[in-house]
Amino acid sequence: MLELLKELCAERAPSGCEAAVAQRIIKEIGPYAELRTDALGNVIAFKKGDRPAKTRLMLCAHMDEVGLIVTCITGDGFLKFAAVGGIDPRVMAGRRVLIGAGGIPGVIGMKVLHLLEGDEAKTAPSIEKLYIDIGVATRQEAERLVSPGDTAVFDSQFEEFGDGFIKARAIDDRIGCAMLVQMIRQPQPFDLTFAFTVQEEVGSCGAKAATFAVAPEAAIVVEATTAADIPFVVEEKRVCFVGRGPVVSFMDKGTVYDRALYRLAFSLAEQQGISCQPKKATAGGNDAASVHVSREGVRTAAVSLPCRYLHSPSCVIKWSDAEETLRLLSALSAAVAGGGAA
């Protein structure tokens, strides 16, 4: 699963450009499930289990990542851009990016430190003050390489470090995709439907269509969620902790989660000796916002991996959390699909 995560993180796929990740996933799960790709690019996979499900359950993870989109090319060949998804402009300053299908390298430029005046030195540049420099001097030269509408991702390699830690771009939510692929590759006790969704970062758009099509009775959204267990964050704002296993949410900005499913996750974790932690904040949101209000409503849970520095080039997770999360997902999906949450 680690190798798969590495390969998925290598694909450049901001919202709207998920095809490369979709193809990679289809290649992995093709032999194990019935697949289709819908009008928006969502990949929906039906995995036959040992027995038919008593409750129709959908698990989903999104394929897209946050990134940038080129909005215009200046006369001097610099690129202005906007953020696709929510990105703090302070993590853009000083970064290198890869643009378009060809992965053209560029650097995110801003006024040099030594020439800042007055308050400029104390103020982080807003996105309007940033631009991408691809090393050309004219608009014509730039247009040979890139176009307005091209998307870009941060240039950040997948690396293992520390005590079982991983740093990479796009862990949100390629880790979710990797875990669902792993579940599809393994025998399952009950039938399950999986949705690999598009456009989560720009408003959970893909999940609306996928959930309508699948029409599940229950759903588990599999994500990476923000861990703020870092210095200078007070205890009560730390949200969740890397190394303490999967994070189960009771509420966030988009969803108040099904309380019975929330409790079921913790009781299964306790029974089976899986580490598990609550998400101790109502911050953020994910595909559940779209999933749980589909049709006449869907009972929904969110099970996530704790991830530091979300929406930055350097997302950091601990691999042992992925293994524990997969165990919880297997237990929870078997329990729900088997009618245990009725």
């Binding site: 001097a137 520390g162 930055s312």
Partner: protein
């Protein structure tokens, strides 16, 4: 330009702050390849005697500082995060989520912590993080972190160099590895190192923390003339044009009250004579480079300054044009030949 890109990439990748580092090894290896004897002084600066001083001929010092900006570990907290202070003047606006190399027992990856957007407000987005509120995550608990890293260890911005379109190299530490590469290229261009003058190359450390390596290095070498090779600002859309050179338009020859008019005119005449593109960098007082200390070393040294135009100084996005590096090398090599040919006392 053969091999210049590879040399510059290797120098950019290497880490080096006060005290030395891998960049020193690359320079020493290149000097050895050129058959130039070199030594390292008490400050870690490299002094290479290219041509022994000749009676009645000037002794020229070529200076290009080898150190880069970075950070030093000041403490390790109970959760294993590193707290750091700056060495030189890194641009703090880039720290949030930036990858670093921590030169502990082994070089290891670290990440400057940042709060996720879900926990920040629009007001927070305008705040430049201070080092007092920053920490480096190395993915280790306290005890393991203390085994892997010691207080005082150096921390560098981590970035693999790459080539952009148009022969632009981007990466960390091009201030001043571009200058170092230019000087090494100059030395390789002097045929069999017959210069007609005494010539010593100095690659000092600690420029970024107060030009200290150049202070002691210049004293040791005791030259008559010097050319300092550094980097200076290249124009970007948001910078004042009168304070910047431009990428791709050649070496920036410094003109300043504290630089030698004779050496400066000599550099300009050499560039014009060679028909190579060059630019003028006008400064109104001191230069902010090793020239400031070399020119007042001992009883004074006639000093000039040539800079490679560079964008995004003191971030890992620094960018220079390869042709400007080679143009700088060609200019200095020709200046040396001309100065040698003059055969004056």
């Amino acid at each position: 330009m053969d091999g210049l890109k590879e040399l510059l990439f290797g120098l950019s990748r290497a880490c080096c702050i006060t005290g030395g580092g891998e960049a020193s090894e690359i320079v020493l290896a290149e000097l050895a390849r050129l058959g130039i004897p070199a030594r390292t002084d008490a400050m870690g600066s490299i002094i290479a005697q290219v041509c022994a001083p000749l009676p009645g001929k000037p002794h020229l010092l070529l200076d290009a500082h080898l150190d880069e900006i970075g950070f030093t570990v000041t403490s390790i907290d109970e959760a294993g995060f590193l707290h750091v202070d700056k060495t030189g003047g890194p641009d703090l606006r880039v720290l949030a989520g930036h990858e670093v190399t921590v030169c502990g027992r082994e070089p290891i990856l670290g990440v400057f912590c940042c709060k996720p957007p879900h926990l920040t407000t629009a007001e927070d987005y305008k705040q430049v993080p201070s080092l007092d509120e920053s920490a480096v995550d190395i993915g280790l608990g306290h005890d393991d972190a203390c085994r892997a890293v010691s207080l005082g260890d150096f921390v560098f911005l981590r970035r693999e160099p790459t080539l952009l379109e148009g022969g632009i190299v981007t990466g960390k530490a091009l201030d001043n590895r571009a200058g170092v590469a230019a000087v090494l290229r100059t030395l390789s261009m002097l045929e069999e190192r017959h210069c007609g003058i005494g010539l010593t190359a100095l690659f000092p450390l600690a420029e970024e923390t107060g030009e200290r390596g150049a202070t002691t290095g210049a004293f040791a070498v005791a030259p008559d003339m010097a050319i300092v090779v550094d980097t200076s600002f290249a124009l970007t859309p948001d910078a004042p044009a009168e304070k910047c050179g431009r990428l791709g338009q050649g070496p920036m020859i410094g003109i300043a009250p504290t630089l030698s008019g004779e050496v400066t005119r000599g550099l300009i005449d050499t560039a014009a004579g060679l028909h190579i593109p060059f630019q003028r960098e006008i400064m109104a007082g001191r230069t902010g480079t090793d020239a400031d200390v070399i020119s007042v070393s001992r009883a004074g040294v006639r000093t000039g300054l040539v800079s490679v135009p560079l964008r995004y100084m003191h971030t890992a996005n620094e960018a220079v044009a390869l042709e400007d590096v080679s143009g700088t090398a060609a200019l200095i090599a020709e200046f040396i030949r001309k100065t040698g040919g003059l055969a004056n006392a």
